[in-house]
């Protein structure tokens, strides 16, 4: 049985196990690229006590599925998997995994970065940081919009303009 391509969950993940499962049984794979995002102990100069992640159930999964479809069209990805954690996370905890297999390294590197850039601004997650000064919602970054724009995709997030 093939594992689902997208998993949104509170539980942690094991990079080795996820990658092993992703490439199992595909002899055409010549490259595996994986990215893991983790909780920094400081963000914008302030200590982070914990990070709480909220998402839009149903929409999140559908959005990431369509990102994987797009990555497959663009880069000839053989298999991809995205795991994103929700709920309360401590500093140093793993937040997100993007893993991609392809025939060659170029496609694997590009597809992994593309998926991560896409996910930052187009998947419905929100982070709330708790630190010494209390809790606050993390602001979206224009730099993340710019990262996605490099792939020729618009749709401003941090810089979302009013539509009327």
């Amino acid at each position: 049985m093939t594992a689902p391509r997208v998993s949104i969950r509170a539980d942690d993940f094991d990079l080795g196990a996820e990658v092993a499962e992703l490439r199992a049984g595909d002899g055409g794979v010549g490259a595996v690229c994986a990215f893991v995002g983790t909780v920094r102990e400081r963000n914008e100069g302030a200590a982070v006590g914990s990070l709480e992640l909220e998402h839009y159930p149903g929409m999140t999964e559908a959005a990431i599925e369509s990102m994987i479809d797009e990555a497959t069209r663009r880069f000839g990805v053989r298999a991809a998997r995205v795991v994103h954690r929700i709920g309360k996370l401590a500093p140093s905890a793993q937040i997100v995994l993007v893993a991609v297999t392809a025939a060659h390294r170029g496609e694997a590197f590009r597809a992994c970065e593309f998926l991560m850039d896409y996910l930052k601004t187009q998947a419905p997650f929100w982070k709330k940081e708790t630190g010494p000064g209390g809790a606050r919602w993390v602001d979206a970054r224009v730099a993340d919009d710019d990262a996605l724009a490099r792939w020729g995709i618009g749709g401003g997030n941090a810089a979302a303009k009013e539509t009327r």
Binding site: G37, L53, E54, H55, Y56, G58, M59, A62, A63, H84, I95, V96, M116, L119, K120, T121, Q122, A123, P124, F125, W126, K127, K128, W137, V138, D139, A140, G155, N157, A158, A160, E162, T163, R164
Partner: protein, 83 residues
């Protein structure tokens, strides 16, 4: 016609998880947002034009110019910060 409105993150903290809203048959997301904000109070604070928000129709990100149909689900939320 009726639409289901859902709120997330800071908007959810201000207004709760969502509500059913009766709208004009020619409504789009922008007119829905303005009608909700016009209620004043917490709605004006959370949904007014002083806020930068993103929106979704039927669980797909879209611009506020998107027209609405009966039974649609509309999400309002701050810019996304996943990853």
């Amino acid at each position: 016609m009726k639409v289901v409105v859902r709120y997330f993150a800071a908007v959810r903290e201000a207004l709760g998880s969502g509500e059913d809203v009766e709208v004009d048959p020619r409504a789009d997301i922008a007119s829905l947002r303005d009608a909700l904000a016009a209620r004043g109070g917490r709605h004006a604070e959370a949904l007014g034009r002083q806020r930068v928000l993103r929106s979704a129709r039927n669980r797909v990100l879209c611009a506020e110019s998107a027209a609405l149909a009966d039974g649609d689900e509309v999400g309002f939320f701050p810019p996304l910060t996943g990853g």
